[in-house]
Symmetry: C3
Subunit: 159 residues, 3 copies
């Protein structure tokens, strides 16, 4: 076992603010030399979607999920005070005013810092998401890989 | 202290999808020989309710909570895109199509793998839930037992 | 490194019930001699707001956030079954009936037990919250301090 500290985050929720929190913690831990992994599962997978439509053949029900879910980090709503998107506009607005980083840049930064971004294959299957629809540079794994990582983790969070 | 790894999960939320995530992780950890405990508190207790009505004397306010909360795993809604139950039907539908396990079976599997399922006595009291209303084979404990378990845990999650 | 066990909680959500769960676990861990820290970030910061209005100069957008967010623990709604505040009244009612502790008292108890209550400076900035608006005895820090604490933690939760 190496001496490097480890942080693992399960990102389950598909809210802009919760994904921001996950990526801020991940980037912080990476800056402190942790080996960091974010497992994206269920609605958290939307964080990784490309923002353009990728056309492919799908079952009807999977098409419906695909249409109903936000296409990428920039389109996700807030967990609180969303008010049909107004809260989200406000947050993006204050992020800009305070020179803080919006979510898409936090994701880029994580990739530059070698944070491992993983898509959960089982829930991709359930929601009908395919690799072509997700960002490049993502890895794919299931619950076994998560347990293997987390049991060595110093900081394990479910967000 | 034994060498066996430990996973503890506090299941606070009463959503079908979050409970699925909790039980998938629990079953995964148990398959990797972890000693696993799920503490069901607040709305997470609904996961453990029997689906038939158990008649008993209760205060009026506890009766109201009892009526308003879903009776068992199979009746819980989604945390996102629930759309008055339609999203939940869609999820159950794709679970069947992909031969994945619906929540009630994930709970059964957890019990077969000796995952300890615990009902938080303090919140049972608050919500007026009684042992007769919950599944058989559940244990009952409070926050002290949780701290004792979690401080030895390798993976501790709040879901 | 001391032998004292450590618990850290990130309180992200601004719901009465989730904050109760966070403070019950924090108080439990402190009773078992853990060194406990709660990092309040995003909507979790509302838990720490004073319940009276503190007048100060703010940008328009920060004023709006300030008005829209609940002023203190006692004013927060439930994560489930809030029904325009009715669920919250019911919870407070049953808390009283069962001689359990309402949230403001749980916070007091935590302060008496030396649980470290921290406000996340970055999100205070984003939401336009200032130190004068938050309870006395709070400390202020960012993600670096959180990582430093959590990597030594036995129990780390995101609520």
């Amino acid at each position: 076992m190496s001496d490097q500290k480890k942080t693992t985050i399960v990102l389950f929720n598909g809210d802009y603010d919760k994904a921001m929190a996950a990526y801020i913690i991940a980037n912080g831990a990476a800056a402190y030399d942790h080996e960091v992994t974010i497992f994206h599962t269920f609605w958290g997978l939307n964080t990784l979607r490309k923002d353009n439509k990728v056309s492919m053949k799908k079952r009807f029900i999977n098409k419906m999920f695909g249409k109903m879910m936000p296409r990428g980090a920039d389109k996700m709503g807030l967990s609180k005070m969303n008010y049909l998107g107004m809260g989200q506009k406000m947050i993006k607005n204050v992020i800009k005013k305070h020179n803080a980083m919006p979510l898409p840049q936090l994701i880029e930064m994580a990739q530059e810092q070698d944070v491992k971004l993983i898509g959960c294959t089982m829930t991709m299957d359930l929601l009908g998401l395919q690799k072509e629809e997700l960002l490049d540079g993502i890895e794919y794994a299931g619950v076994a890989a998560y347990i293997g990582d987390a049991e060595e983790g110093n900081v394990n969070l479910f967000i």
